[in-house]
């Protein structure tokens, strides 16, 4: 059955600001399809973003939406969720926004295991500001601030968020939107901190400068450099170099350990004293 994605979109705000060939629209499309497959109440859903190309995504979504400061979306979202745990709170962030300036908030959001769904648009570059290297830019890659090749090491955000305590960790890629929708749906339904890194393409500021090519070639690159998580686990270590597992990487179902649930237990303990 066809999904009416427009009922979740602010049609009067379209067309979006993203460049031709950008993967952000694919992520947005998968997200609204995922929302449609859940029983989430759109009136009880808040979408929060920071700064950068990803930061503009909530403006196209017909929910309560908040476009905040650079890197701080998870901190704002934490307040929104803790103040009213009935709300479904989704954070849309980029690799610069979420892993550089907002890296500390990402770590501590995971550690608290607060029930947020964080989708990180990983296009491996600062797109909005014109192509500077981010913590997700591969070593050796060319960016406007690494004209001689990036000497930084890039992050593995899946490892990072898992270690920090996120209870749902997954990776999708824009070449496979059906899988993205499935991962977003699982993340939205998971009670606890859900982190879904999404490999995304920035042909304008990354692909063409690193001889990968345009959007199609970048999607081919994703396909060639990813394997299902189940296959990844069985691969010998030497074959894993430069290959990314896709799918659900880590999952721990323990709703009682969720932050707002734990805080409610404290409140309830006082209510009991009064009885």
């Amino acid at each position: 059955m066809a999904v009416d994605i427009y009922k979740y979109l602010r049609e009067d705000k379209l067309p979006h600001i993203w460049c031709p060939g950008c993967g952000h629209g694919t992520i947005l499309n998968s997200l609204v399809r995922a929302i449609d497959q859940t029983d989430i109440d759109p009136d009880k859903t808040v979408v929060v973003s920071g700064i950068g190309c990803s930061g503009r995504a909530p403006g196209y979504l017909k929910f309560d939406t908040l476009h905040t400061t650079h890197g701080r979306a998870i901190a704002f979202a934490t307040g929104i969720k803790l103040a009213n745990p009935e709300l479904n709170v989704i954070v849309l962030t980029g690799d610069g926004d979420g892993s550089a300036i907002g890296g500390n908030h990402l770590i501590h959001g995971c550690r608290r295991n607060i029930d947020l769904t964080v989708i990180l648009f990983n296009n491996q570059i600062y797109g909005m500001t014109g192509g500077q290297y981010s913590p997700m830019t591969p070593t050796g890659a060319v960016a406007t601030t690494s004209p001689y090749g990036n000497i930084d090491q890039d992050f593995d955000l899946v490892d990072l968020t898992r270690s920090a305590g996120a209870t749902f960790v997954a990776r999708g890629a824009t070449y496979n939107p059906r899988q993205m929708t499935k991962l977003y749906k699982e993340g939205l339904e998971h009670k606890g901190f859900s982190f879904i890194e999404t490999l995304d393409q920035c042909p304008v500021n990354y692909g063409r400068k690193n001889n990968i090519g345009g959007p199609t070639e970048m999607l081919d690159w994703q396909k060639e450099h990813t394997v299902p998580a189940s296959k990844w686990e069985k691969m010998p270590e030497e074959e894993k170099e430069g290959i990314f597992p896709l799918g659900v990487i880590h999952r721990k179902d323990d709703p009682e350990s969720e932050y707002t649930a734990r805080y409610q237990q404290i409140i309830d303990s006082f209510a009991k004293e009064d009885e």
Binding site: H67, R72, G79, A83, N104, Y263
Partner: protein, 380 residues
């Protein structure tokens, strides 16, 4: 605790008591001397009434999280000191731009940088006004006693809610850590204001979250109540969406400024004791007012014509009031625990009509009554 009994209360904890009396429901912050007692107090008290407390990973997150709580419809507060106040400026700016009611307490200590963490200062007066980038309205209140810390915390919440405006509560280390005997009012004696929300029958489909209402303060829906509205730190029109036109930018700035400027009579709070023939006026705020009042009383015993005014609201500045004082007085003395910050506003308002003289300490030591008395008596 029976509110009618006298209690021995610390200034920081008076902020907690005042906050709870004003209906605080949400605190997010980060530990810092000399403000940590405020976080500790809210951590104890809020869950008892169904409220929420959270210690965040840093000061920026504390400010962000408190604003998030406010958007979910809860009366929110955060507390810090100078170094943390510097970090909060980024998200304080967003709070101003999106018009989120929130109270930000800064228990001032000596700076710059780590400075003197346990010593008093009034060095953040200008940071409270201009700390975040760009022009913007701000309200800052500064108590001089434990009782005032309670009363002005209630006022800070009320102003924040009524004007959809972050309100700064500037304590200093003396007021924050001092213990005084106070009698707190009963709940029914305290006036508590809540933010204006859109009516239940509002047209949610065509709702404009930043509509130009008569009072210039648009009604604010809680998240999750079906309005599905957009909020951004970008300049926006009445729909909440950025348009990036110069016309919209000016309109928004003018409305945000006017919603405060049109209500100065309500917002500007001060106490004064100036007699008809007093030609010397000591203008002070915060802990320094304690020495100022004491010095004026002693000067009067010595037959001098001196009076005092204590500003409880320092931003917006009481420009008109100070201008009138300067018409009559020969000399205005401004003691401050900094190198001279609010004195510049006093000079600007006095317009040369009276001599304006500062008494300044910025070494972590308080200004004693004899310092002020010496200036009143003209003894160098």
């Amino acid at each position: 605790m029976s509110k009618k009994e006298a209690v021995l209360l610390q200034g920081d904890l008076a902020v907690v008591e005042g906050g709870m009396a004003a209906g605080a429901e949400f605190f997010a912050g980060y530990p810092i001397t000399p403000a940590s007692e405020i976080a500790e107090g809210f951590a104890r008290e809020l869950p008892k009434v169904g409220g929420k407390f959270i210690q965040m990973e840093d000061e920026l997150a504390g400010m962000a999280c408190a604003i998030g709580g406010s958007l979910s419809g809860k009366k929110s507060i955060t507390a810090t000191s100078g170094p943390g106040f510097s970090l909060k400026q980024e998200n304080l700016g967003l709070g101003i731009m999106i018009e989120a009611p929130v109270v930000v307490v800064d228990v001032q200590r000596v700076g710059p940088s780590t400075g003197l963490p346990t010593s008093p200062s009034q060095g953040d007066v200008m940071q409270a006004k201009w700390g975040t980038h760009g022009d913007h309205p701000i309200i800052a209140l500064s108590p001089s006693s434990v009782k005032e810390a309670f009363d002005l915390t209630v006022k800070a919440f009320n102003f924040a809610e009524k004007y959809r405006q972050p309100v700064i509560l500037l304590l200093d280390e003396i007021v924050g850590h001092m213990r005084e005997k106070v009698i707190l009012p009963d709940a029914d004696e305290i006036e508590v204001w809540d933010r204006k929300r859109p009516p239940a029958d509002a047209d949610k489909e065509n709702f404009n979250p930043y509509e130009w209402t008569d009072d210039l303060v648009p009604p604010m829906p809680d998240y999750g109540t079906g309005f599905r509205y957009h909020t951004t730190g970008l300049f926006h029109d009445k729909t909440g969406f950025p348009r990036g036109t110069t016309e919209d930018a000016k309109k928004l700035m003018d409305r945000m400024t006017a919603k405060i400027e049109n209500n100065l009579d309500e917002i500007i709070l001060y106490d004064e004791d100036i007699r008809e023939d007093d030609n010397i006026v000591v203008l002070s705020y915060g802990s320094t007012a304690r020495s100022a009042v004491s010095a004026v009383n002693e000067a009067r015993e010595n037959g001098l014509n001196a009076g005092w005014i204590k500003l409880k609201t320092i931003w917006p500045f009481a420009e008109e009031k100070v201008s009138k004082l300067a018409e009559k007085a020969n000399k205005i003395i401004v003691p401050e625990l900094n190198q001279g910050q609010l004195i510049r506003e006093v000079e600007r308002a006095a317009k040369g009509q009276a001599e304006v003289v500062g008494i300044n300490r910025y070494d972590g030591t308080l200004i004693k009554p004899e310092h002020v008395l010496a200036e009143i008596e003209g003894v160098k």
